[in-house]
């Protein structure tokens, strides 16, 4: 693992609701070591209040350990964790009652009924009034009323997850931490669970969710922390990150004779151009230029077969970031400095690579034969 990394300094607080800029959770330079393995390595991110923050990363990225550090279940070896402004290691008794956790395994007592599981949680979390009503409401909300008096050992995986979710909200916590809550669920149950999570955020809860499933994070995340090897690669809202990595709209064009599309590179507003086997990809300064461009091409006799504006997805973002991190590591391992694209944003900071899909358009600056910087290919395209 390289000791230097590209960090999007958290303005995550700025991503939170304007009236509550204080992050509910803040991790700074957190490391945790199990034996000789760094489970967390210099991890830093904030969790904005009232939003869904998704910790996205492959297995072993340190997502679960991060959740454990947030509640104080695990005391990190190094760094600072603040949850509700408190040190969860020292003041865990003040932090944990305000958190609701669903772990990757539902962590339920199979020999107890669903009701007894909920009653146990209610008692531990200090719910003393109207316990039965709380249980009934939670069970009804997560659709397990009919099975609430059955032993949990007989529940299906989906029902166990629903019960674990019901248990996590029983005491109306401010912060909900879900560690791969759809693990082992069929697609229908997964969607239902994700809908419930979305619903909880709309009620003012803050949610931190770990997942390695991009489809799960897409459309759910207000805030993304891409993790790998125990560290954060980037932090920000999907829109911010997308804008950062792809500052201009991208359009794929193709024609019966693709060579005729080369002239597009000199059109006004075209910031980047690249030809590949699937057509040409252009970056526009404004997508509203596209109709004029198409009209002009048609008027010039170009027979277009494809005009496809591309909206980068979280998946594009994820693979781009990971690829860049891998490239940075390989450069670091060689003893050299990380390769930068040379492109800069308005603040003069290096821009991240462009990619319109994993495996299709390699990022700028990646030391690979196919990694042609888009800006460079524009010039080459014009020359051709």
């Amino acid at each position: 693992m390289a000791d230097t990394k590209t960090v999007m300094p958290s303005e995550p607080a700025g991503d939170a609701a304007p009236d509550d800029p204080t992050p509910i959770v803040s991790l700074r330079g957190v490391s945790h070591r199990f034996g000789t393995v760094d489970a967390l390595h210099d991890l830093s991110f904030d969790v904005p209040t009232g939003r869904i923050t998704v910790l996205l990363g492959p297995n072993g990225a340190g997502k679960t350990t991060a959740i454990r550090a947030i509640t104080g279940a695990l005391s990190p070896t190094w760094g600072v964790v603040r949850t509700f402004g408190l040190d969860p290691d020292e003041d865990g008794h003040l932090v944990r009652p305000r958190c609701g956790v669903v772990s990757a395994k539902p962590a339920l007592y199979d020999r107890l009924s669903g009701r007894d599981n909920l009653a146990y949680a209610a008692a531990l979390y200090g719910v003393t009034r109207d316990v039965d009503r709380h249980i009934e409401v939670a069970a009804a909300r997560f659709g397990i009323t009919d099975a609430i008096d059955a032993l949990v050992g007989g529940y299906s995986t989906g029902m166990k997850t629903r019960l674990a979710l019901a248990r996590s909200v029983l005491h109306d916590p401010e912060l909900l931490l879900f560690d791969e809550p759809t693990s082992g669920l069929d697609p229908e149950s997964s969607y239902a669970v994700l809908d419930l999570i979305r619903e909880m955020t709309s009620e003012g809860h803050t949610v931190v969710m770990c997942t390695h499933l991009l489809a799960e994070a897409e459309g759910l995340a207000d805030h993304v922390v891409v993790m790998e090897g125990g560290t954060d690669l980037v932090v920000g809202s999907p829109m911010e990150l997308t804008r950062r990595f792809w500052p201009h709209p991208i359009v794929t064009l193709d024609a019966e004779d693709p060579r005729l599309l080369d002239r597009v590179a000199s059109f006004p507003g075209v910031e980047g151009y690249r030809r590949d086997p699937s057509g040409v990809r252009i970056e526009l300064d404004d997508l509203r230029r596209l109709p004029d461009m198409v009209a002009s091409l048609v008027a010039d006799g170009v027979r277009l077969t494809r005009v496809e504006p591309h909206e980068p997805t979280l998946e594009d973002l994820y693979f781009t970031i990971r690829r860049q991190a891998g490239a940075d590591r390989s450069v670091d391992n060689d003893g050299g400095a990380p390769i930068q694209s040379g492109r800069r944003d308005r603040a003069g900071q290096p821009l991240a690579p462009i990619s319109t899909g994993h495996g299709e358009l390699p990022p700028l600056g990646v030391a690979s034969p196919s990694a042609e910087p888009l800006a460079r290919t524009v010039d080459e395209g014009v020359a051709r």
Partner: protein
């Protein structure tokens, strides 16, 4: 938001930890203690035991065997069947009892005296073996079991402090063993009085020594054993390993508890019994105090070093 290469200021090595840390049991969170929450842990563990027939059926069988079946057969054989050879051999064996104990033996007939001596003096191991066996079986599985089932994660994230969890689990292990012993003791008293009572002039059991043993000697030995067993349970990797290892702890303690109980029953003096019990209580309290440290959230999660 800007993109910047910001290497964090982090030491090259994490050894020793750069973060000043208190020991887990010294944090404010660890020092919290809510008796109600401790009872919640105990109650839930006990509820799970009740749900588990494969646990309580052997427990009832063990208690019945030691407190009901064996004493009934033995005492009934001596007092009712009246096999003179058996009685004579038992009477001879009782000659090894200290004179103070022999002086207390009641009964007009040899059968009555023999039955009395057996009932009062020779069944002490029963009162020791049963609670220790049952409680150790529960205690050995209690913490490692949470980890194995994955429910340790729930407890680790819960507001319960490690002290509440430890003591809650200890009580949940203590109650089944001691409760079985108390119920067995009541049953045994009934059996003894019904079978031997007519030969010694009426109901005579429990004697003062038995009361002292049941209420003053057995509980601290049981707590002491459990404090050690729970420490093991917190540390080992599997329930099977915990049960194997706890046997090593339990056997010597059974020996000690048996010898001390027998000494008490044989009338080495009530003062000695009270002192012995007091010492056992102190030792148990110290061991419990130390034992709390063995439970950490990292151990509940199964990620302790």
């Amino acid at each position: 938001m800007t993109t910047a290469a910001v290497p964090h200021d982090r030491p090259a090595s994490l050894d020793p930890p750069a973060r000043p840390r208190k020991k887990a049991h010294r944090t404010r969170a660890a020092r919290q203690f809510d008796r109600r929450r401790m009872w919640v842990v105990t109650r839930t563990d006990l509820r799970q035991l009740i749900q588990s027939k494969d646990y309580w059926i052997p427990m009832v069988a063990l208690g019945s065997l030691f407190f009901l079946v064996i004493p009934t057969i033995l005492l009934f054989t001596i007092t009712r069947i009246g096999d003179i050879n058996v009685v004579q051999k038992a009477s001879q064996a009782l000659q090894i009892l200290p004179p103070s104990a022999q002086a207390k033996i009641q009964g007009a007939t040899p059968q009555g005296r023999t039955a009395y001596a057996l009932a009062v003096y020779l069944f002490a191991p029963v009162a020791v073996v049963v609670p220790l066996t049952i409680s150790t079986a529960v205690g050995a599985a209690t913490l490692v079991g949470e980890r194995e089932r994955g429910t340790g994660e729930f407890l680790a994230h819960s507001p319960a402090s490690v002290r509440e969890i430890y003591l809650g689990k200890l009580l949940a292990s203590f109650v089944p063993g001691y409760l079985t012993t108390l119920v067995g003791f009541g049953t045994y008293s009934l059996v003894v009085n019904l079978i031997v009572g007519p030969d010694v002039g009426g109901w005579f059991f429990p004697t003062t020594e038995w009361w002292v043993m049941m209420l003053w000697i057995i509980p601290p030995f049981l707590l002491l054993t459990l404090s050690l067993v729970l420490r093991l349970s917190a540390r080992v990797k599997s329930t099977a390993a915990a049960q194997q290892a706890s046997g090593l702890i339990t056997l010597p303690l059974i020996g000690i508890a048996y010898s001390q109980s027998t000494g008490t029953l044989l009338g080495n003096g009530s003062t000695a019994a009270w002192v012995l019990g007091g010492a056992a209580w102190l030792l148990a309290a110290f061991s419990l105090h130390r034992g709390v440290r063995s439970v950490t959230r990292a151990r509940l999660l199964g990620v302790a070093q």
